[in-house]
């Protein structure tokens, strides 16, 4: 009996872990953009959705040309999705946010919501409103076969991707030249510019990276869910945004921590209490954390800029 209970706990734990790493993967993009220009990019979820669609279309086209090797399929469609989504992210910033950079903070926020609605409806019209089956691009890994009832290949890959991306991003921001420039831009745009940093380029770079991450997320989650439609970005975006705020928006490890905590809360809440209140648990937790630590779990305490 005890073994049974422990097993159940473990399975819920793993379920929460994979769900959390999905949230975290998308939250990383939110938090990165926020960290640099203090803008909540509400269209991030839509970039994720466009990434998924691009991968689906590329995979379908490749299959139509007779390419069936799984590794070729997943890499080509993955790369196309990343390139496309990055182009979207870059354009998005130029069109919707750059002109508003010196406007009151509310303006870019509204612009972001507008872009989100625009992109959703654009895909709705250009594609279809129906759910479209998403091919399973990720071939099953043989060594996971014995445990596939607890953690599938896709879950495992999502988990690894999130971890790797978190480490790479942290490295990028802490140790590289461009990372230093990003941090400088985040601290003070005017000063950074005076010191010879091309602020526009840094911001573009941030958006491109964030969008690339969203595309990776789109491909992964598409493979996991097996179906996509124009609306998937909205729901995933809201949850990922919650995760980013929970962990402290602007903090890279915070986004991952926030995602995992959100995933576990939902998983255990459903498993031990009731799934009717799954969202209630998640958002109550958010409220509690924000009451006691307004900057989020790993958020920076905002130091006054002198």
């Amino acid at each position: 009996m005890f073994h049974d209970k422990a097993g159940y706990f473990f399975e819920l734990f793993i379920g929460g872990l994979t769900k959390g790493s999905i949230y975290a993967l998308i939250a990383l993009g939110y938090t990165m953009v926020y960290g640099i220009i203090e803008l909540i990019n509400f269209a991030h979820g839509e970039i994720y959705m466009i990434g998924a669609f691009t991968a689906l279309i590329t995979a379908a086209a490749l299959t139509a040309f007779g390419v069936t090797h799984p590794l070729v399929l997943v890499s080509v469609s993955g790369i196309t999705a990343v390139v496309y989504a990055s182009a979207y992210g870059y354009t998005l910033e130029k069109v919707a946010y750059k002109p508003l950079r010196n406007a009151p903070r509310l303006s870019p926020l509204i612009s972001a919501i507008g872009m989100s609605i625009f992109l959703q409806n654009f895909v709705l019209l250009a594609q279809t409103s129906n759910y479209i089956p998403f091919p399973n691009l990720i071939p099953p890994l043989p060594f996971l076969e014995p445990v596939s009832h607890i953690m599938g290949t896709v879950d495992f890959i999502i988990l690894c991707t999130t971890a790797v991306i978190m480490i790479l991003l942290t490295f990028l921001i802490r140790k590289t030249r461009i990372g230093t420039a990003m941090r400088a831009t985040a601290q003070d745009k005017t000063m950074a510019r005076l010191l010879g940093i091309d602020v526009d380029r840094i911001i573009s770079f941030t958006f491109i990276t964030g969008s690339a991450l969203a595309a990776v997320g789109g491909v992964m989650v598409g493979s996991k869910m097996g179906q996509i439609n124009f609306y998937i970005g909205f729901i995933a975006g809201i949850k990922a945004f919650t995760a980013a705020v929970l962990g402290g928006i602007g903090s890279i490890p915070g986004a991952v921590l926030g995602g995992l905590i959100l995933g576990w809360t939902e998983s255990f809440g459903t498993g031990y209490l009731t799934s009717d209140y799954e969202d209630v648990f998640a958002f109550s937790l958010l409220v509690l954390i924000l009451i006691f630590k307004p900057s989020g779990l790993l958020g920076r305490n905002t130091t006054p800029k002198v």
């Binding site: 399975e11 994979t18 182009a87 998983s267 809440g269 799934s275």
Partner: protein, 407 residues
């Protein structure tokens, strides 16, 4: 910076827009055979707006029939076939000179299956002075719209809203439907589960919506009344969530042999996929919200063996064959969900208008309940609640990628 963003930005925008357009063209070409809803939408709406046909007759010479339901959005595949069905019936009557010396005119309004939109849709149709409405499609939307029609004394015949309260509560004397209600459907599901599948332990899940929770609650009630099976779980899940592993895990832990799902297909296909990847053999049974080809397409191999209740197969009925063939020759595609129910609703309504020789609420209501008519569903009339008499539900199972009637 090496390049000028002044040039690069418009270039990017252009590149993206053209590329996506190209893709969408290519896709629609590729998918035409599988996508009846998409193609019929255009034809249906251009028909319903009637621009190419001769100028609409004087208002007093026409009887307007409203068609309301999801004509866009993710549930459009449930709503568009109804537009086609009503157009077909109306065109046939108009070609024979109309009803009571008046031409019929179709006014189609979209409610996206959302209750908050449906009230606007209803108000719009009321101001258009429609004589009656075929619709709405989803139960939630119907519930929020029906009161508005009631106040305006407008009859409303739904081809698909199965929520039991709509008729059984007795609150809406103006509501009729050509589909059996959820109570009948849930009873059939429970009987099948108990006496054919012999399950002893069930988990009932729903999407917390009017339709889903309604049918799930009825199923629960019938299982409890029978006393033959234990209900291991009765829970609502969040529609559209990225992952359902926790609830699937809970079902597994509960040891249920059957999951009864109250809701629509997007969630169901994800739940069944997760059950199968977790190597669970738990059966899944859904109501007519699952009986849509999209479910089989998105769930793929995982859909195999899923039980679904849906309107009785009337495919041997001569009128049914004729209606479907007419649809194929006019639109070039298979009709889609609830087409036959909508076709029959339109026939029953126009028949009642002809027999009553008026569009008056009382006269229509009495005639609908009194007169029987041969439709693609069979010979139907309506009982005192407004529920259809003469057509019911059967159980289907997904076999080799198609719904097969088994009872």
């Amino acid at each position: 910076m090496k390049f000028h963003s002044r040039f690069i930005t418009p270039l990017f925008v252009l590149m993206i827009l053209t590329a996506l357009m190209l893709i969408s063209c290519e896709k629609s070409k590729e998918e035409t055979p599988e996508k009846p809803a998409e193609t019929t939408e255009n034809q249906g709406s251009s028909d319903s707006h009637g621009a190419p046909t001769a100028a609409p007759p004087e208002p007093s010479d026409t009887i307007k029939i409203g068609v309301a339901g999801a004509h866009s959005g993710e549930l459009a595949s449930y709503g568009l076939p109804t537009v086609n069905a009503v157009n077909m019936v109306v065109d046939e009557i108009n070609s024979k000179g109309g009803l009571n010396g008046k031409k019929l005119q179709v006014v189609a309004e979209d409610d996206v299956c959302k209750p908050e939109v449906a009230t606007n849709t209803a108000t719009k149709l009321v101001t258009e002075k429609v004589a009656a409405v075929i619709g709405h499609i989803c139960s939630g939307a119907t519930k929020s719209a029906i009161g508005i029609y009631k106040d305006a004394n407008i009859i409303c015949i739904s081809p698909s809203a199965t929520n039991a309260e709509l008729t059984l509560s007795g609150q809406y004397p103006n509501f009729f439907r050509t589909i059996a209600n959820d109570a009948a459907q849930a009873k059939l599901q429970v009987d099948y589960a108990l006496h054919k599948l012999h399950v002893k332990k069930v988990a009932i899940l729903h999407d917390k919506g009017d339709y889903g929770k309604g049918s799930a609650t009825l199923a629960k009630q019938y299982f409890e009344e029978s006393g033959l099976a234990a209900i291991a779980l009765f829970e609502g899940v969040t529609a559209g969530a990225v992952d359902y592993s926790a609830i699937v895990q809970k079902v597994k832990q509960s040891g249920a042999e059957l999951v009864v799902w109250g809701g629509y297909h997007p969630e169901a296909s994800r739940i069944v996929k997760q059950m199968r990847t977790k190597k669970m053999s738990t059966l899944l049974m859904g109501s007519d919200g699952l009986k849509d080809e999209t479910f089989i397409k998105t769930a793929g191999e995982f859909a195999e063996g899923v039980y679904v209740s849906g309107p009785q197969d009337a495919s041997k009925n001569i009128l049914n064959i004729k209606a479907i063939n007419d649809h194929k020759s006019r639109f070039g595609t298979e009709p889609g969900a609830f087409f036959i129910n909508a076709y029959s609703a339109a026939m029953a309504l126009t028949n009642a208008i002809a027999k009553a020789e008026s569009t008056d609420f009382q006269a229509l209501s009495t005639t609908l309940k009194k007169e029987s008519i041969d439709t693609p569903l069979g010979r139907i009339s309506f009982d005192e609640h407004g529920d259809v008499v003469g057509s019911g539900f059967s159980i289907y199972q997904v076999k080799n990628g198609a719904f097969k009637e088994i009872k």
